[in-house]
């Protein structure tokens, strides 16, 4: 049985919830309260996924683990796009963290320079929009490969929650259409800040 240690407002936990939903995987959720005591799990920060005796941490690793271990179709982690998928997983774990941090400052009054974080976050969104605009001219709709992959899932939450720190998608037409396509995937679920209607 899959068990997710989960915090409802965490963008990283949401990426895992979304992947589980898109793969149609039954699982149990253990709510971890991150406020105000910053509770955690025996294995560190959420998200943490237990699969029987196995424990996986780190959002990007959990996504690739689920795609490898629980998606017989292999379409979420296609071998022919492995390099591009890896690049965007790394992007989600580096460039996009500015948006995660900006959101913590904006919502939870965490310490940090909101304007500086938002500027970095804006440039990360621009890099995504540029890539998607280029892909569209090649007739492709997703970050890597012909269909959605774990790369799309890894970057989606930060893009969709950027409004929490005050960045809209007005400047990013290709991102706007990409997020809409992603939300149309069968099994899609939202989270607070990502409405179910679109």
């Amino acid at each position: 049985m899959l068990r997710l240690h989960d915090y409802v407002l965490s963008a990283e936990c949401y990426a895992v919830r979304l992947m589980l939903a898109l793969l149609g995987l039954a699982h149990e959720r253990r709510a971890v309260d991150l406020y105000p005591g910053a509770a955690t799990t025996p294995w560190g920060d959420v998200p943490v996924l237990e699969d029987g005796d196995d424990v996986v941490t780190d959002p990007g690793l959990i996504l690739t683990y689920l795609a490898r271990a629980h998606d017989p179709s292999g379409r979420w982690l296609p071998a022919e796009s492995a390099a591009v998928v890896s690049r965007w997983l790394a992007f989600a774990a580096t460039d996009l963290t500015a948006l995660r941090d900006a959101r913590r400052v904006a919502i939870l009054a965490a310490p940090g320079d909101l304007d500086a974080l938002n500027r970095k976050g804006y440039m990360a969104l621009r890099a995504l929009d540029d890539h998607l605009a280029t892909r569209r001219l090649e007739g492709a709709d997703w970050l890597a490969g012909d269909g959605p992959t774990v790369a799309d899932i890894a970057v989606f939450p930060a893009v969709m929650l950027s409004h929490d720190s005050g960045i809209g998608l007005e400047d990013f037409p290709s991102l706007n259409l990409w997020q809409r396509r992603l939300r149309q995937l069968p099994g899609f679920v939202g989270m607070p800040g990502i409405p179910d209607y679109f």
Binding site: A133, T134, L137, L169, E170, P173, N176, L177, R180, Y197
Partner: protein, 204 residues
Amino acid sequence: MWVPIALGRDVPRGATRAVLLEGEELVVWRGEAGTVQVWEDRCPHRGMRLSFGFVRGDALNCLYHGWEYGAGASCRRIPAHPDLTVPPTIRAKAFAATETGGLILVDRDGTGGPPPLMLAGLPVASLAIAADPETLFQLVPATPRPDPQLVEATLDGVRFHLGWHVPGPGRIMLHALVLDPGAESRALIALHKLRSEAEARRAA
């Protein structure tokens, strides 16, 4: 005055798109019938931005309470009161809009006269640039066209139609189309380069 605010390709049927035009928030959307609509981005009920709403069939619905607006901007359903016939006075604020040559244009102040007809181009991208139009067009040798806020320009050997609007001070959004089929990818690279140069010049 007619102002280009988006590429038609970027607002497919069923989609909404938020556009900032000189500080004013607009929603651009397209229903199933295919006609593009440009409204004030504000539901008259509680002021919620309609760009967060959702299109069903040929209507735009507000995310907050599901109020449904038809193509003429009249509210035709208030879900909290299913039996209510909605008074015709409840309506969103619609602007004159048209789509031509691959561009969506709006005439906010009603002074634009008959909608323009433009030469068709092939859409490349809309690009937000942190520079004012004067700075940008110093970098682009452009020939004005009779069409509103549209120029012809050649960048890195690619022939462009460039429409634009100003979201706010010190910013421009370019709407780029090319005339030669197959030139789109090269065109996008040229645009990204132009953006870097314009923003570097502004920083300096």
